[in-house]
Symmetry: C2
Subunit: 658 residues, 2 copies
């Protein structure tokens, strides 16, 4: 095919994806919110979220400007410019997704009130779709255009890397900042509201309740969007770099990752449409759309390889990536939804300590099976599926269907928010019941998305690491070399350090929030009786300030450590450093994500009436476990997935600079 043909396919598919985005947005917007209270609450949430996003983006843009200056100075102005484009696309995705979420949340509530479960489900599902399809379309469009314009340049690898750095940098800040925001508000609201004062979740008397709902938008939606966008872009461009290393500039191989993205996005669109045609219950719809997209990807790529006469063994890797993602997703579902949850709930009966010990144990154990599966994928893909390029293709195929998997992921927080609005607006409990059901469904199906995200993070990090080794001219990285060994150990400490920083930030901000909420309950007369309004804004300010202040240090550390390593101990030690941080980072990320999910669902299991139900000793213990799990699963854990790739891409740039 000619260059123009490729571009037409990439841009055409991306435009179809963007049309889906626009279509979904207008469908959501068409619903009118006629209830004044609900409208006012939603407005407060939207305003809080947008205010935070504006401040956060300002800080991120400073970092982006700084980065583009450095790239422009040391490499080329073009590289600096492309880095900016990569960053802006990520910011736009986050913005769009959050816009959709803040529109869809209240409309989901209204739909639940007026047309019941299915109507409400569709609104939340569409809201999530905006994010999902925006991620897939922007990523494909950006990299496709890059390929079209610059693939003939000698510094094409460098330009790809600059684009990827933009995505990684924005994602890291958005995840850390958003994660600190959402969890400090969540913990603050829960600890005083639920435990000390004894009012239900999302009670309007709770001063932190708006901050909590804003947090869902900025952390779970905007933060996650940037995160998945980064994973998607990372898998694609690292695979393209390895294709260039293996096959030179042979277009059919270099574009293969992008073609997989085309098939994945096409499958996602068809999956979405078919799930709308064959209406089923919500759980089946979410699941079927995902499986449909995967099946389409597998089928289309099979014929593509055959028709264009590409190496057929690459198909092993593509297949392994899809299947591996699904299996890891199922394992995640087991640990965060199966027997282990009941066991952790049961151990809450002897108090918070045993709940915590058991939850940590579940998290630790849950790392074993996924990592063994990923190791098997690496081995098989490497040996039979096209070497390192095969390994990177596995990551691409895991993420190619991101349009639909991310839709499922982003749907959850919207349903969660909708429940909050129903509660605060004082709607009939039946409405809340519907949104709770949709929320619970989101928690289960999101496990699949998490499996894809963590699995692809490991594979992409390995791909970037291989690219690093190749560009650095390292033929072998010998562990018996003390420099490499020292690098591995030092790299291993980084995920611990960054987790420590982000967890502490959440803990300290939550402490401030707790003191503020306690103060308001004590000092505002009539608040407890519902006669006076709390000061929501002060709580929002606490979360905002903490998030913005605390996201800076981890960012600086992450970007500067590879630089320090290279200029003190050299490229071999830096190679070891990347290995150490990847191994420890992946394990810790899995542990934290799954322990957090298990605690969350153990609490919900008790709240559903088991072991004494709400208000029992077991419930109190489970709430503490859930609270510890909050920063695990929504701040520190997900940051690590980005961390390992961000450090790898910085290292890659360092050796590209020579």
């Amino acid at each position: 095919m000619l260059l123009q043909h490729y571009f037409l396919i990439f841009a055409g598919t991306a435009l179809c994806g963007l049309m889906v985005v626009i279509g979904l947005l207008s469908r959501i917007n068409a619903i009118r919110v006629e209830n004044e209270t609900a409208r006012r609450i939603a407005e407060a949430i939207r305003e809080g979220a947008m205010t935070f996003l504006k401040e956060e983006y300002r800080l991120i843009l400073i970092a982006v400007a700084l980065g583009s200056g450095i790239l422009g100075y040391f490499f080329s102005p073009l590289s600096g410019g492309i880095f900016v484009v990569g960053s802006l696309l990520s910011l736009t995705t986050g913005y769009l997704g959050m816009k959709a979420a803040t529109l869809a949340n209240v409309r989901t509530t209204m739909a639940a009130k007026e047309s019941g479960e299915h109507g409400a489900f569709l609104v939340a599902f569409f809201g999530g779709g905006v994010m999902g399809f925006a991620v897939a379309s922007f990523g494909l469009l950006g990299l496709g255009t890059l390929y079209y314009l610059f693939s003939d340049r000698l510094d094409f690898v460098m330009l790809l890397t600059s684009f990827g750095l933009g995505a990684s940098l924005v994602a890291f800040f958005a995840r850390v900042g958003g994660g600190i925001y959402t969890k400090s508000a969540d913990i603050g609201a829960d600890l005083v509201g639920k435990i000390e004062v004894g009012i239900p979740e999302d009670d309007p008397r709770n001063p932190a309740v708006i901050a909590d709902n804003v947090g869902d938008c900025v952390g779970d939606t905007a933060g996650m969007g940037a995160d998945i966008y980064e994973s998607y872009v990372g898998a694609l461009y690292s695979s393209m770099i390895l294709a260039i290393a293996h096959y030179g500039s042979t277009a059919s191989y270099v574009t293969l990752p992008l073609m997989l993205a085309v098939f994945g996005l096409g499958g996602s669109i068809l999956g979405l449409i078919s799930s709308l045609i064959f209406r089923a219950n919500p759980a089946a719809m979410l699941r079927n759309a995902t499986y449909f997209a995967i099946a389409f990807l597998l089928g289309a790529s099979y014929f593509y390889l055959k028709y264009f006469d590409l190496q057929s063994n690459l198909y092993y890797s593509i297949f392994l990536g899809c299947v591996g993602g699904v299996v890891i997703g199922l394992i995640t579902e087991y640990y965060t939804g199966g027997k282990p949850v009941e066991r952790v709930a049961k151990s809450s009966e002897s108090g918070a300590a045993t709940n915590l010990i058991d939850g940590l144990a579940v998290g630790m154990e849950s790392t074993v099976a996924p990592v063994i599966i990923l190791s098997a994928i690496v081995l098989v893909a490497h040996m039979y599926g096209g070497g390192l390029f095969g390994v990177s293709l596995a990551a691409v195929s895991m993420l190619a269907t991101v349009g639909i998997t991310m839709t499922v992921d982003a749907y959850g927080p919207i349903a969660d928010n909708a429940g909050g609005i129903a509660q605060m607006a004082g709607f009939d409990p039946e409405v809340r019941k519907i949104t709770d059901k949709l929320d619970a469904l989101g928690n289960t199906t999101a496990a699949m998305g998490k499996g894809f995200a963590i699995g692809s993070a490991l594979l992409t990090a390995l791909a970037l690491f291989s690219a690093y080794a190749q560009e650095a001219g390292i033929a072998g990285l010998n562990v018996l070399d003390p420099l490499v060994m020292a690098g591995i150990f030092i790299g291993g400490t980084v995920p611990f350090l960054i987790s420590a920083l982000t967890m502490r930030s959440v803990g300290q901000a939550a402490l401030q929030m707790v003191l503020e909420v306690r103060r308001q309950f004590k000092e505002i007369p009539g608040l407890m009786e519902g006669k006076a309004e709390p000061d929501y804004k002060r709580c929002i300010t606490i979360s905002t300030k903490a998030a913005l202040r605390e996201m800076i240090l981890p960012g600086i550390i992450t970007v500067s450590l590879p630089i320090i390593m290279k200029y003190t101990l050299g490229v071999m030690a830096l190679g070891g450093f990347l290995v150490g941080s990847t191994v420890v980072g992946v394990l810790l990320a899995l542990m934290m994500a799954n322990a957090g999910g298990t605690w969350d669902n153990a609490k919900k299991y008790i709240e559903a009436g088991h072991l004494g139900g709400k208000g029992s000793q077991a419930h109190k213990a489970a709430v503490i476990g859930d609270t510890v799990g909050d920063p695990f699963k929504d701040t520190s854990g997900p940051s690590l997935n980005i961390l390992i790739k961000l450090m790898a891409v910085v290292s890659l740039l360092l050796v590209l600079a020579g």
Copy 2:
């Protein structure tokens, strides 16, 4: 020097050490326990401890018999026999130490009652000394004799490794079994006693109180003894193997590690004696004795290298080992006793969740500095201090003064136990105050010992790993090889898996204990009023059964995984496996040990009257944190130090088998 001369020095020093052991034992035994209640309580603790030890040893002996059969069949009967000797020496050390501890505990109480702080301190100090000097003497005697008898044999390396395997296997079982025993009892006693029923620690009305005190003996004394013995022996024999690899059978190098042990033990004896001559306050005595021993070691080894004309650069490594151990000890002291403790205590004010989040953050952060220091030691020792042999010498010199550092370590649980007996026997609160003070002192000074143990674990594991690579004929272990990479990832999951298993065992056994203690309080009339006696035995049985049952699976997994790796993925993957498990194991061990220590001391800080003191909300939260920390610091964390070496020595044997 002639072979006989070496042997005379080794055996002579070891016999001096054993004379110290006998002298200390007789000094302790000379004190008469005239109070009937105290005598009866101490008797119950001793009986419980001995019963458990007997059952535990029976199980361990089955494993030893099995192991010796396998070694005898696949290698040689001699190898099987030496493996048995290595195991038996470890078991004897544990037995002796516990014997001393169960004699010294009640005598410390009596001394506190009758002659005040200094007298009580000396008894506990002497009790700890039995363990310390037994470890050092038996280790030196065993390896010295092995050298004397078999150093001319071709399979000497194999015999050394068999001896080491015995020590590692026993240590792993003793640590895991003892750790599960002590922590299930401790948690069970605390959760119901302190939190639910509101009676003080060590109250005789608590049905789990005897089990708790037995646990201190079997876990913190016998378990720790076997652990340190294993570290000591491991450092020595791995260093001897590397000496053989570097210098052939040149006696002056092969015996150098043992000579360092001679200087360390000599320094420890002199340190003990001089601290008794220059009587100071307890804290100064513990510290001075340690520093004296280290100074003696450094001085003597300097002149030894010079006089016998050994490579002088080896001294760098010896020096770095000592200094590194002290520095890591000081860092441990900071994290578990300094500012971080106050911060964690402060965050208890907003509840258990923030206490836990902050404590975990402290534990994670605390891994960074020690690992960087150890990496620096590896780098410098390797490059300037004699290569891999230098790295192993650093581990030896860190542990050579184990006689005195272990004394300080083992002193703590005795003081702890003495306090329990004072409380249960209803002595004057002044007595308890003295023992509490001695106990607190033990917690602080023990940090130094922990620094030495963890630091040496990393270095010894590296030494064993290097020996493995050398014996396997691996010149380079290339991370870019997918087999190696997969090995690293799979190895990284093992510490998580073993921690998960051991934490869950503690959690589940604690749950059983809580239910039993609750039952007794409910069903035994008059128990709460002190009119009826609880059923101590049932609680002892719960801990005993859980410990024995739950230590088997981790043992089987640890020993069989390297075998599975070798026969499925081969020696390269097994090499990667060892790297992955060492890196993750060391980080996790540090994190768990330090987080546990911080939570423990944060609780004590509040109990000392800060932030509302005992009974406040902050205190309740801190107790939960401390409880989660219990299995961290006394079961799972320390097991990992042994785990990484046990897997390395099994791997080494596998390649020695060819």
